[in-house]
Amino acid sequence: MTLGLPEVLTFASILFGVGAAGLLARRSLLFMLASIEVMFVAGGVAFVGVSASLGQADGQVVFFFVLAAAAAQVSVALALMLRFHAQSRTIDADRASSLRG
């Protein structure tokens, strides 16, 4: 019995959905960023799965790029979150609408 690509992609899709649900449901910037990480990972899983089923390395290479982008994004986003927190003593995303203007 071998592992099929559809199973891997299904897993990736559901993981992506879980991340999206967290992103929409949470108001805390911290959890929103965490949910985004989950979605990144889901995308990575899909890439790696396809790569494995084709027997080629390209998908894994893309995973590394996704990894780099996620790492850079999370560092900047967390720094922004901290600045926002320093300013308004909260990390509630709905409060961030007062940033305008």
Binding site: T2, G4, L5, P6, E7, V8, L9, T10, F11, S13, I14, L15, F16, G17, V18, G19, A20, A21, G22, L23, L24, A25, R27, L30, L33, A34, S35, E37, V38, V41, V45, A46, V48, G49, V50, S51, A52, S53, L54, A57, Q60, V61, F64, F65, L67, A68, A70, A71, A72, Q73, V74, S75, V76, L78, A79, L80, M81, L82, R83, T90
Partner: protein, 168 residues
């Protein structure tokens, strides 16, 4: 292999779902770390050991730690956690869950044409020579991106330091 995949993926989904619905950030992040480790196992199961290793090191190791560090710096007050807890009812997740379910279902439907099996692990050498062969430009750019992220973070953080130093 197949069994490993199913166990690991089930664990990853469950841990992720629990992780994003915790009121306390530390709890949430711990579950997230668990989910990420489980995804690492999934990577092993689909025959991508290098990816699995990096994944665990970077996500579970670096990123989650970064999150924890942010939580530490921001400092969490008990009233904020309590307020978060009151907000987190099942109703708050109803709409997003429905949307996310629709999204997942559509994604699965979109990936239906895909077929094939995951059998042979791709050798690490192949991945490495691809990374440092045809994709070298991409790797360098990824490095630059991380460097840019470093500089941006530094700048964002520095002002705060300057302000606190003035206060001292």
């Amino acid at each position: 292999m197949v069994v490993t995949f199913y166990i690991a993926s089930a664990l990853a989904l469950a841990a992720a779902a629990v992780g994003i619905s915790r009121a306390h950030p530390i709890h949430g992040l711990l579950f997230l770390a668990l989910a990420l480790v489980a995804v690492g196992v999934v990577f092993l199961a689909v025959g991508a050991p290098l990816v699995a290793a990096f994944h665990v090191i970077v996500y579970a190791g670096a990123i989650v730690v970064l999150f924890l560090f942010a939580v530490m710096v921001a400092g969490l007050s008990a009233p904020a956690v309590a307020a978060e807890r009151t907000r987190l009812s099942w109703r708050a997740f109803l709409g997003p869950a429905l949307l996310a379910a629709a999204l997942a279902w559509l994604l699965i439907a979109a990936s239906r044409p895909a077929s094939g099996a995951v059998e042979e692990p791709v050798p690490i050498v192949t991945v490495a020579s691809a990374l440092f062969g045809p994709y070298i430009a991409g790797v360098l750019l990824a490095g630059l991106l991380l460097f840019a992220g470093l500089i941006a973070t530094h700048h964002l953080a520095r002002r705060d330091d300057a302000a606190t130093e003035e206060q001292r």
